[in-house]
Subunit: 137 residues, 2 copies
């Protein structure tokens, strides 16, 4: 696994309060890839995204009582993007072989990509994703 992060996504309770905070108090500008409920800030070398907490938990398939690492949803995820669907499958297979807990098996997802979630020892969620709309260098 290359030593990098692609996205940090904060699960937020009130998207408008969060937009006010990051845009008006921090003075940051959202990027063109933002939508109504996914606000993306391009930082130096990575993206910080804001997304409703319930939707983010749902995205990680934890709305049905699934509990990542016995600690519940932490309200944020870190994403590691790869360059193809195959690369998601291959990386998850390697991580599984090393004993990593797969929270959500690799699958096609609603936003048009293909992704899987793993948990670290504290239940911090890492998404391993292929996003056809975001070219990973």
């Amino acid at each position: 696994m290359e030593q990098r992060i692609t996205y940090i996504t904060l699960g937020v309770n009130d998207i408008n309060a969060s937009i006010d905070f990051y845009e008006n108090k921090f003075g940051w500008k959202r990027s063109a890839q933002s939508s109504d409920d996914l606000i993306v800030f391009e930082l130096r070398g990575l993206y910080l995204a804001l997304y409703p907490k319930n939707a983010l938990a749902h995205d990680a398939a934890m709305d049905a009582g699934v509990d990542a690492g016995g600690q519940g949803f932490r309200g944020f995820t870190i994403s590691y993007n790869v360059r193809s669907v195959q690369e998601v499958d291959d990386l998850i297979a390697v991580l599984k072989s090393r004993g990593v807990h797969v929270v959500k098996e690799p699958q096609k997802v609603f936003w048009g990509g293909y992704s899987s979630y793993i948990g670290d020892p504290d239940g911090n969620l890492w998404e391993i994703a292929y996003n056809p709309y975001l070219k990973q260098e």
Copy 2:
């Protein structure tokens, strides 16, 4: 505020389990700035750090029942480093004037720097820090 993050610090329950996860399962290499209880990975354009959760909560002055944004400690922080002590004070003054909740007032800290913590609307903690040992570009 420039549009960047300097550090993401994950508060971990068992530092050895976390080291095993990031070094042996992800295959990452810690940087030379790591110590026994602060493990730092240099990513592309930012650092990911592992630090015992209790110590991290203490660092944000939340061990005495202080509750960031009414939601308690979330187990991670994001750091935004600046270039001087004065710049910490100036930025916190600006953020306060915009109504940002300051969780910990700017002060000298044990690791030799000067820092302050603010909370976003969900209680996600941002450290505004001057670190004399880490040159911020």
